[in-house]
């Protein structure tokens, strides 16, 4: 029996386990299922994929350069087939650099694992593997399905949060998931001495009116001009208990204050109604509003990603639509 490892790097912040870790485990199970299937396909079961979750102790996971130096020998020793990390600020800071150091494949921001019959794969240009990975491109409008040529090389994946869920059926896998604690030993690496990691600052609270609002009217770059925020305010005034919010670029440009930013680096909201106006629907924005009870989007691009997360899709120029809506409400 030939064992292979799918290595999950548990993520911690302030000593607390980050929920992304569960998603990583769910993703690892999907990978394992694909290889179990493949083994069945070619009627040989001589490779067993096991899932190992490692929890690093005695090291602040935000000290990325240290973390990389620490992980490097461990990965060398385990020699896993896959390494899974979150596509989080920590994952982004560590994964790609580490992959270069190891000399392995690295694919970031994965939202789906796909099993593909080998014959479906174009031989000359395509991947020879049965496992393909989906990642979001062009503001979430498309998924690119990618594979690697050589499955013998380690593949490091970072996983887009909100893409994988631990389902009940995963329980049967409990026995093949092992948890391991690793302690920091002295690592000697010249890069570490070049960086001094300082304090964490909780700069601004995301504790805004947004959390109490029943209705949120959120605008994005599609509104075109700062002045047009006035339209959004008028739209919001149509509803009771409403608030105005924005996608990150509007906050970055100073059109709205930070408290009104929705998304992974802003507020996570779930109002009764979320009205997205001129917002493309990048994963970082979706992460902040996908649990809203009812979602209505206005975008001039019929294929905008936001429509995949909407109950009602309105393909229109947003300003004309708002004008018409306000007018129809008064009528």
């Amino acid at each position: 029996m030939n064992n292979k490892t799918i290595l999950v790097i548990a993520e911690y912040l302030d000593g607390k386990l980050n929920p992304i870790t569960d998603e990583l485990i769910a993703c690892a199970i999907e990978i394992k299922k694909i290889f179990d299937l493949k083994a069945k396909d070619i009627s040989e079961v001589n490779v067993l994929y096991e899932i190992k979750v490692i929890h690093f102790k005695g090291i602040n996971s935000l000290e990325s350069e240290k973390y990389k130096s620490f992980l490097f020998p461990i990965i060398r020793e385990i020699n896993p087939s896959f390494i899974l990390m979150g596509h989080t600020s920590q994952g982004i800071d560590i994964a790609s650099g580490l992959a270069v150091r190891i000399g392995c494949n690295c694919i970031t921001n994965i939202n789906k694992i796909i099993y593909s019959q080998p014959e479906n794969i174009d031989g000359s240009e395509g991947s020879k593997s049965n496992i393909l990975f989906s990642r979001s491109v062009f503001k979430g409008k498309f998924n690119t399905i990618v594979g690697v040529e050589n499955l013998e090389t380690i593949i490091l994946l970072t996983i887009q949060s909100g893409s994988f869920y631990i389902k009940d059926c995963c329980k049967e896998y409990n026995n093949i998931i092992s948890n391991e604690e690793c302690y920091l030993s002295n690592v000697d690496d010249s890069i570490i001495s070049l960086i001094e990691y300082g304090d964490i600052v909780y700069s601004c609270t995301t504790n805004s009116k947004l959390n109490e609002a029943k209705v949120i009217v959120a605008c994005g770059r599609g509104i075109g001009d700062k002045e047009n925020i006035e339209y959004i305010k008028k739209m919001a005034a149509c509803f009771t208990g409403s608030a105005v919010a924005g996608s990150r670029p509007l906050i970055d440009m100073g059109w709205l204050p930070y408290e009104q930013q929705v998304g992974i680096t802003g507020a996570i909201v779930s109002p009764e109604l979320y009205l997205a106006v001129g917002i493309s629907g990048s994963s970082q924005h979706i992460a902040g509003m996908k649990d809203s009870k009812f979602i209505v989007s206005v975008n001039k691009d019929p294929n905008a990603a936001i429509f995949n997360f909407s109950d009602i899709s309105i393909v229109e120029d947003c300003l004309s639509f708002i004008e018409e809506f306000i007018y129809s409400k008064q009528a």
């Binding site: 912040l13 935000l62 600020s89 982004i92 800071d93 790609s96 650099g97 270069v100 494949n105 690295c106 694919i107 970031t108 921001n109 939202n111 593909s116 174009d122 240009e125 395509g126 979001s136 491109v137 498309f142 998924n143 399905i145 990618v146 690697v148 050589n150 090389t153 890069i191 070049l194 960086i195 001094e196 300082g198 304090d199 964490i200 600052v201 909780y202 700069s203 995301t206 209705v215 509803f239 990150r248 906050i251 970055d252 992974i264 802003g266 996570i268 009764e272 109604l273 009812f294 209505v296 995949n308 997360f309 109950d311 009602i312 309105i314 393909v315 229109e316 018409e324 129809s328 409400k329």
Partner: protein, 285 residues
């Protein structure tokens, strides 16, 4: 202080699936821009140059891409970059972060700087010719967040991602006409930030919101037009599809997570219908 900014040219025209579903086509009126986060990175570099003019600070921009990328390099020089570097490729379609990073790093190792001028050396330099390298946190089209950290690793210099503040003034160790160490703040999820001090040379990936990129100035554009861009052809002519460890199999629309009922008719019809739907759900009175 010698600063390099990695800029990627992106298409701003309409993007659709191509016939074979293997990649995308870009609208007939091809229009281009510098990827948004890279403009932030370049603005930050120019602010540093203005602040540390006395340290003989210069800013170069580098872009890997087809002939049209030269336009974005010129725009970068219009914003205030001193030199432009163009690694010319013939790639069509997806280029993985690891291949782009390798190309950027290989080019950086070929560059030698003296004063404000750059030269390409035959043999690779082992040392990083720049004190500071800035990239965007991610490219607007491929959204990998890879190229910066990978370039840093190839060059053996520290890397800090998602930087939202570079502290120019405090604790700066200006010695020997160069800045020894800078202090930055990087952003995590949910409004949390981390303070970090790093010795130069280092690579930072820049998050939007750090500044407001300026428009190119006429005088800079005129100066840029007179100046030659340092070009390097990927002579081995390895097209990305044969050279890239990553293979793109197809491109598809993401699955719908919710019904996404499309409202039809005139703008007015749609407004009326939405009003009725919201009323029915008790969301509008």
């Amino acid at each position: 202080m010698k600063i390099l900014v990695c800029i990627k040219q992106i298409s701003t025209s309409e993007i659709n699936l191509n016939g074979s579903g293997k990649w995308v086509t870009q609208g007939s009126s091809s229009s281009f821009a510098i990827s948004r986060f890279d403009e932030n990175a370049l603005e930050e570099a120019i602010l540093l140059k203005e602040r540390f003019g006395m340290l003989n600070t210069s800013v170069d921009v580098i872009s890997v891409g087809s002939q049209t990328a030269a336009e974005s390099i010129k725009r970068g020089m219009g914003m205030g970059a001193d030199n432009g570097i163009h690694v010319i490729t013939e790639d069509k379609g997806y280029v993985s972060g690891s291949l782009t990073a390798l190309r950027v790093a290989t080019m950086i190792k070929k560059i030698s700087k003296s004063g404000n001028t750059i030269k390409m050396e035959e043999s690779d330099y082992s040392l990083c010719p720049y004190d500071l390298i800035l990239t965007g946190i991610m490219s607007e089209d491929l959204m990998q967040a890879q190229v910066g950290p990978m370039v840093a690793e190839h060059l053996g210099i520290p890397c800090i991602t998602s930087v939202v503040k570079i502290n120019f003034d405090d604790n700066l160790n200006v010695s020997d006409n160069r800045i020894d160490k800078i202090e930055v703040q990087r952003e995590l999820e949910g409004g949390i930030r981390q303070n970090i001090k790093v010795k130069l040379p280092a690579l930072l990936t820049i998050q939007a919101g750090i500044n407001q990129p300026r428009y190119p100035s006429l005088s800079n554009i005129l100066r840029a037009n007179k100046k030659e861009i340092l070009t390097y052809n990927i002579v081995d002519a390895q097209s990305s599809s044969s050279f890239d460890p990553l293979k793109v199999i197809r491109v598809e629309y993401p699955e719908k997570k919710r019904a996404g009922k499309i409202l039809n008719g005139t703008t007015k019809d749609k407004a009326m219908e939405l009003k009725n739907i919201l009323k029915q759900r008790g969301l509008l009175i």
